[in-house]
């Protein structure tokens, strides 16, 4: 029998969550502040959201960020799923140590180093920096996260199902595509979402690898934040938090329902 939470346990969890959420809640509240001074409450207003709709630079940055995110997350998911299959199924192969090293290292590697090294690559290749260099850089970093997510699910998958399909006349490849892939699909979707969100959030790598005409939303926000707090930043941030939170919660609820049915 598991003992229930003690008063101390409850307090630590509640205090921890309060610490995590208080700044976010305050940020959201003050995005509805009528005053230009971010930290002085001047009544409820949605004027900063209206101002946002006319901020062409901000809207442009949102559009760039979304395109970079969609393309890089898709690339990262495809490559990451392939990498996960190789790591789980191939056993020992030549160069496996280097391969798994390259997969896990970017997970903890400081972003400044990744950004700098990618930039030097693009300079050495003579590629003009812009939309595609950011996209490729994001795909490189997020593919590692995608691999870990898919790998966890794939290694828990019962291989005998795939073998049964082969006994029933499937070729090895079609057994994988028809049996295994649908089974790991939730993990593949989660990997895509993770890659997309990471790309959406990234400031450091984008700053190094981006060029004129490809300013992402975090880069735009960062240059404004450096000038000080500003209610319009609160408004963009609230929208961004809302969209991401809605997405994550929707996926979570869908998974819960799946689990309840099965």
């Amino acid at each position: 029998m598991r003992r229930g939470p003690s008063a101390f346990n409850r307090t630590s969890v509640i205090a921890g969550l309060a610490f995590l959420y208080a700044p976010i809640v305050l940020l959201v509240l003050y995005s509805f502040n009528a005053s230009r001074l971010v930290t002085v409450w001047g009544g409820f207003s949605t004027r900063w959201y209206a101002a946002l709709a006319h901020d062409a630079q901000m809207l442009d940055a949102v559009w760039v960020t979304l395109r970079v995110g969609l393309i890089s997350a898709t690339l990262a998911t495809v490559l990451g799923t392939l990498a996960a299959v190789a790591l789980v199924r191939a056993g020992r192969f030549r160069g496996r140590t280097l391969f798994s090293g390259m997969i896990y290292a970017p997970l903890v590697m400081p972003e400044v180093i990744l950004g700098l090294s990618l930039l030097l690559l693009f300079v050495a290749l003579g590629l003009p920096r812009g939309f595609w260099t950011v996209t490729v850089s994001h795909a490189t970093v997020t593919l590692c996260y995608a691999t870990v997510v898919v790998q966890a699910r794939l290694s828990a998958f019962d291989r005998s199902l795939e073998e049964a399909a082969q006994d029933l006349g499937c070729t090895p490849l079609s057994a994988f595509l028809k049996v295994t892939l649908p089974n790991i699909a939730p993990a593949v979707a989660a990997a895509w979402m993770l890659a997309f969100t990471l790309s959406l959030d990234d400031l450091v790598i984008a700053s190094f690898t981006s060029g004129p005409g490809a300013t992402t939303l975090p880069m735009r926000l960062y240059s404004q934040v450096r000038l000080g707090v500003n209610p319009e930043i609160n408004a963009v941030s609230t929208l961004l938090i809302g969209v991401v939170a809605a997405g994550v919660i929707a996926v979570y609820l869908a998974q819960q329902r799946r689990r309840a049915r099965s």
Binding site: G16, L20, T39, P110, I113, S117, L120, S237
Partner: protein, 292 residues
Amino acid sequence: MKRPWLAALAPYLWLVVFFAFPFLLVAKLSLSHTVLAMPPYAPQLDLSQGHAGLTHFVHQLTFETYVRLATDRLYLTAYLSSLKFAGVATAILLAIGYPIAYGMSRFGPAARQGLLMAVILPFWTSFLIRIYAWIAILKPAGLLNQALAVFHIGTIRLLNTDAAVVLGLVYAYLPFMVLPLYAVLEKQDESLIEAARDLGCTATGAFWRVTFPLSIPGVAAGALLCFIPMVGEFVIPDLLGGSGTLMLGRTIWTEFFADRDWPAASAVAIVLLATLVIPIVLFQRQQAKVLS
């Protein structure tokens, strides 16, 4: 699938080109002559001259940038303070992350799912935005000082101090500490505690002799997962720290964007990487063990 290793080809090639190869470029640039301008930096490798081109290239490499790093106190200070910030923040994270993870593991299955979700959710929301949120709280006329004024406590200056950087690091990395700890604590077999209690352990004794030692893999994973990226952190010291807050990530950024000294930026990156290589290898070993 008959040859699963074939699946590795595309991602392997991708990572060699976009991850491994660029590190050689960083290493090469760190050994180049400092020219405060745009590239190309001398020496350049000219393979059309075959072996002669290669030896010429190797002879031209110089350690002058590293000598400069070693002799300039600014770099040494940045190096040591990066380790100090990351170390202090990791210790605080363990101290507050452990009770949270432990507390979560005590709840029933349904509540645990919800709590897990609540801890993961901030991780999905933008890092930059979560740090930005603290500026409004910590600034001189900010929300914290307004709250203190209500209770007639004097104001405190936090923004642009080292304390704010530690606070920011702890805040941003808390989910990375709680999740690995929770993963090991949740799986722990309750009957082990009962056995310890039956054999005469006090509740505290059972915690320190059974629960904590069994959770060491989680402690190690959480500490590495936080410590390694924190050493190279850029956004937090830049936005919450003062002009005197030196950290390596910020140094690389400044050398690169403000001073346009690419060889120095590369050399600092190599030093940072050399420092982190052992923790990174430990982390990889552990990941590989957990996932297979």
